[in-house]
Amino acid sequence: MALPPKQVGTFIPSEISFLAENSFVTIIPRQAMESIALIGGAIPSMRPMRRIEVPIWVAVLLKKQSRCNIVPPDWLSEENLKITYDAEAANMTRFSANLPWEWVEVGELILGSAPDDLSSPPHVIRNLLRDIREVRQAKARAGLKNLNDSYLQLDNVGAMELNEIRSFVTMAMNQLRIMQSTREGGEQQDVDVEPDDQDDDDDDDVLPRESYDDSMRTATSYQDSYDTARDSSRLGSEFTGTEDNRASINSHTFAEVRQNSIQNRSRSVLPRAPSYTDDDDAEDADNDMEMDETYLNAVNGN
């Protein structure tokens, strides 16, 4: 019962929303209720009109039964959202710091469950939220142009926004890194490049870097990285070309590429004949491919 594939390497939106439901919100109870002991602490006892803080999921449940009013957080007021929007639009290279980490989810939860508790008409708030989201999405997309193999800084990004670009960024950066190490290997032939192992002495058991260096020696893996490079560039164009439903497209293509790389890997990982453990690399690689075909057939039961 391992994790289902669509949840591998990313969270699905409902999970992000689930996490946001644990954050606290102020409510005004409409009726008295005793304190309830829960696993994650107690819901405090309620008296009408006395404000208390509860997790959002509690607030939503109470609201559904008309037992409380939710006090929307300050940032969710029309006035503050307008200020935020202006701040977002004014600087196209940074996310503004006016919004909390879980702003997308909390905004949706409150709009969905307590539209009558907002200080302005719900559609005004909804439109403002959408505008802000679009400006920020544009920034996130523009930022992806600067993707490199070393790091990416995303200050003030929201949880949901982060999750939307997660699978793309992770995959692209990992592929860039592999391509980078392939290039280094191509320039320096068999010299092992280990620049960053000096300061990390606790990862002796780690083999990724070596394994990449090793895999470079065979023509098959050149083919691999060519394939994946092509895949990722195609993914890039799809990514920028599609406005809506980015998350689903992402995970779809991600899964595709993933599968590809798994296939590639399983091919290069299959047993090799003992006779060509060294010597001429190119020839070995050719043999490798042939051998692999045979093995694959054998595995598939042909």
Partner: protein, 237 residues
Amino acid sequence: MTDARDLEIDDLINNLDKEYYSAHPIANSAYLTTQKSRDLKSLVRLWISERTCPDILPYAHELLDTMLDRVREQVEVIEMNTTSGDASGSAKLKLLFVETEIERVKFLVRGYLRARILKIDKYYMHILNNPDTQTRLSQSELRYTKRRGNHLKRYYDLRFLSSLPPSLQRLDDTTGGLQMVDAPDLDEVVFIRVLHDVPSEVDLGNEDKIELRKGNIYVLPYKVIRRYVDNGDVQLV
């Protein structure tokens, strides 16, 4: 006028009394409440970390035991209340919250374990070859890994390995510098959020150096950030 004021004062005194009485047992219950909410937060973090980290993290024995005990306690509370036949509205509402929360906690625990099983399935050979990694698993996870390893080995032998030349029968061959065994790739990038300022710059290995300031969000290879994740300066998101 006096009546009204008296009433108000009575109310106030009543409220104070109530507050006192509800506060009295709370002298330790408040502590318990913060402790409990801290535990739940840890469980949430644990789930997020296990889902986002390329490596298998140490199994959180104590926290999991505590949380499962508390789930059991809450289930007992539900059973007590349903058998006592108290069908009043407020009792039902109370149970609704208790039940909902149980499901939420169970979801987290399940998600945590399933994320681990995924990695175990993928890296079982690596785990079986590394006693150090084995210490990070729980007893039942380790048992599962070993049995899975045995079953797969037997299956492969039966299906095709036995008909190959002996030199090709190994599943963990390293000839030619190629690893057959899948191991967690610690160079994979992770998303992190910085919780405390880190005084020294972090060396990314390729001339790049970055500062970790509170609130920063980065995407970095897990390897360079691992020690800060372990000491709690940054968290995986």
